[in-house]
Subunit: 264 residues, 2 copies
Amino acid sequence: MAIIDKDKYSIVLIGAGNLATNLGKALKSKGFHIVQVYSRTRESASKLATLLNADTTTSLEEVREDADLYIVSLSDSAFEKLVPEITKGKNKGLFVHTAGSIPMSIWEGYTDHGGVFYPMQTFSRSREVNFTRIPVFLEANDDRDLQILSYIASELSSKVHIISSEQRKVLHLSAVFACNFTNHMYALADHLLRKYDIPFDVMLPLIDETTQKAHQLSPKEAQTGPAIRYDKNVINKHLELLADEPAIQELYERISQSIYKEGK
Amino acid sequence: MAIIDKDKYSIVLIGAGNLATNLGKALKSKGFHIVQVYSRTRESASKLATLLNADTTTSLEEVREDADLYIVSLSDSAFEKLVPEITKGKNKGLFVHTAGSIPMSIWEGYTDHGGVFYPMQTFSRSREVNFTRIPVFLEANDDRDLQILSYIASELSSKVHIISSEQRKVLHLSAVFACNFTNHMYALADHLLRKYDIPFDVMLPLIDETTQKAHQLSPKEAQTGPAIRYDKNVINKHLELLADEPAIQELYERISQSIYKEGK
């Protein structure tokens, strides 16, 4: 038997960014009720609330006090400032945030029912993601809270993990390397190709294979290219080619050094 | 009608590394005849020659002089030194190299039938690649040579392009960013996760989605994470977490700056 009754369980979203949008849509598609969406701007709040068939507000004071679950998905700095306002007057509900780098202890002194619901994925507004494959990392002090979060998370995803704040911090940092920095490597390739009128699309088979390899080999085993071979000949040609791009040239040099060092 | 008769067309591979191995296997599977494999070491030569049902040699002087096509796939520095020896006494054959960063002009003065056959992919010995999806970039001075190379390349791949040495240099450099440097970002994530006993596998859904996005959005549009938002709060937490890894910390800082700069 489910630990909660979806029909009677009310969820408020605090924040209406990319993560909140994707999470809200996934929750709704699984039969959960989002009753209200808060966002600082009317436009964002309305846009998401319409999708979710929920009420909206742009004032934290107007956030309903009777909800069962408050999912807070704001920028880290905004969230850290607003914790007192977010929790004020709401003694019953469970509060979770979705941030990789904020410890669960942020709730201490404000609510006994604080936790974390961290879906590790890169969310862009223009692209719908399949939530089933997104790992969700949970944390809560209270056993029942953790059971509720586990139930909700496993309705959305097949990969639910319970981890500590310390581990989550490292996960988030690692995700920056594996996702954000990786995408920037694509952006730099795109930047260079554009200068010679070569479309970025020619890189896609190579990019796909690099990803496929990560499923089969450890990154260390999969490493190829001039840096791991310490092929000064090729490296110098590349640095020459980047003579008019000093910032990219320096990055090339430093990443190459790092590859060589890590490979030893 | 095919421009050459596969049954009567003989190919020699000079080099037996990852690229030569993958290319040789793909050629054989399409009915081409690899008659001989040269490698500096007996072991590599024999290993590949056995797969291809070819003769072997470890001496460039013993390379057959009557072959139709010589595919040279050596390290750039070895190749540059060996061009005279490779071409010596062979007046009939077509010579191509497979290097991204070496111009076609390397053949000048040694043969009138020099060209380039550059399959842009990351080859690891332990992983078989599907050649059909690998873009192959060709170059040749002689029209008939270019027709022959186009025929062979299109037997292997659906993506055959004719480009200049200058464009190929930029392609190769861009591939280092999109593949080698990307893989290193995975390696750094793996390095950090290991310290906290978190398996690298948890990153795979995120890595897959980052790649999928590259098919749909430009890298600039797809960029997410603390650096593009210039979220000092999160960036500083990450730098703190990397306090005992000064080299990775510096890389984190520089790549973040580059993301912010490129995003403006």
